[in-house]
């Protein structure tokens, strides 16, 4: 080729890539496969209960639990107990959550509040909250107040800690930006601090939901005269294992439901956050 001549380089020939099967397979949902093992377990359980000599007072057949559930729903007792339990959980969550959030914001924003409050809160937090149950029964008896108190206690700490943490972790560069933009303190909190703390606060909410549920199970099982836990303990007296198993399943179901609600909140409120957004962002 003569000097000084710039010739276009012919593009290399690239064979079109065959669509990869592996990629397609890994993207496709597995469908029913993950459910096979649990279903098989249920079937084995059912078989043992019916033909394998597993006595019903040890473990009833799943079908028996199902029919018991239908009966209890029909009589209205199940829904009533479920309602009572849910009411306790949500009331306790609301009270404990508000207290935890209020204290967390105070301590997160104010060094003075931190100096005054944080040590005491951390000391109380060191107590496993279930350990105070006997004391709570002495103070409040086995009425509603005791259960709601215990749930609140379990909820307040995770919310408190995550609120403080979230506020402290807000990017100082964004706060600086807020200041040069001329935001007032209130606007700084509204536009920068609280949204910045939200991922941490929601993580606290999710953890607290689990704690609330645990607190309720314990409180209802030990001292109650209504609710799902009471239903189970009452059934124990009559060796009604079908009702006990049903109560356990309901607790599990509501635990899963609470977690889904928390996940939904995260996906909805943190849509801007790469870790929580599913699929691509809006455009």
């Amino acid at each position: 080729m003569p000097d000084g001549m710039i010739a276009p380089i012919s593009p290399p020939r690239i064979a079109p890539l065959a669509p990869s099967r592996r990629i397609v397979a890994s993207n496709a949902p597995h469908g029913i496969v993950p459910w096979l093992a649990p279903l098989a377990l249920l079937a084995i359980w059912e078989a043992f209960a019916r033909f394998g000599g597993l006595p019903p007072h040890i473990l009833p057949a799943p079908s028996k639990v199902l029919t018991t559930a239908a009966k209890l729903i029909a009589s209205g007792q199940l829904l009533q107990d479920l309602g009572v339990s849910l009411m306790r959980a949500s009331l306790g969550f609301a009270i404990g959550g508000s207290i935890g959030f209020a204290l967390g914001t105070a301590v997160g924003f104010s060094r003075l509040a931190e100096a005054v409050l944080d040590r005491s809160i951390q000391m109380i937090r060191a107590i496993p909250f279930l350990a105070v149950l006997p004391l709570v029964i002495v103070w409040l008896g086995i009425g509603e107040a005791a259960k709601i108190f215990l749930v609140s206690l379990g909820v307040a700490f995770p919310i408190y800690i995550n609120t403080v943490l979230g506020i402290r972790q807000v990017d100082p560069k964004l706060l600086e930006l807020g200041r040069v933009t001329g935001l007032s303190n209130r606007q700084l909190i509204r536009h920068i601090v609280l949204p910045g703390a939200l991922p941490s606060i929601l993580a606290g909410v999710r953890y607290a939901l689990a704690t609330a549920w645990l607190a309720l199970v314990v409180a209802e099982t030990i001292a109650a005269n209504s609710g799902i836990g009471f239903m189970a303990m009452d059934a124990r007296e009559f060796l009604r294992t079908d009702v006990i198993v049903l109560a356990i399943v309901i607790y599990a179901g509501i635990g899963v439901l609470a977690d889904s609600i928390a996940r939904f909140l995260e996906r909805w409120l943190l849509a801007w956050h790469a870790n929580y957004a599913h699929g691509s962002g809006r455009s």
Partner: protein, 233 residues
Amino acid sequence: MSAAVTIERLTRTYGERVVIDDLDLMIQRGEFTALLGESGCGKTTLLRAIAGLDPVDGGQIARSGRPAVVFQEHRLLPWYSLWRNVALGLPDETGKPLAEAALGEVGLGDRLEEWPRNLSGGQAQRVALARALVQQPHLLLLDEPFASLDALTRIRMHGLVKQLVARYQPGVLLVTHDVDEAIALANRALIMRDGHIVAEYIVSRDANASRAHPDAERLREVLLEQLGVPAFA
């Protein structure tokens, strides 16, 4: 022309170290000043003092209104869409139309509802520019705003900044390491060393327009020498 900022006898110390030493500087509205200097010479400290982000130990800074700042990082709020980012601090009623117009000016008018995380570095910096200009500042402070962009994006940003500054006529203080950037954008270039402004050069329009113009070449050599990097060492 009126002064966007007037600085008299400004002093700033960190412990024993004097970072800004008895410094005077005036920037007029419509004037584009580039501040060059080696790392640690005090140029970012000066910009932060003018922005009101850091306290000063002596002297006076008289600003005309609140300056707007564009930082090296875009500092967009990840939880707000682009238009909300630009409208930050504006009154609710007027914020959205102003933000839309400003985003349109930086070429992102069709992405008002986008999250910042979906932007490239250059796009994010354009939003940061829109957020600064929507405030209609008399003084625009640019703290190495293009330093983390790739070379091609940086050249495009230079064109955009020139255009927007010509339209809004703020006084501009650009802190930069990049001699070519200073020559392309500024009307005057200041060299800062040990807390003082030690030299001042006027940048001709010809030098702004073409980096190959003799004015630009001569100034580049002089500035590099001032910064301790002679062209033919």
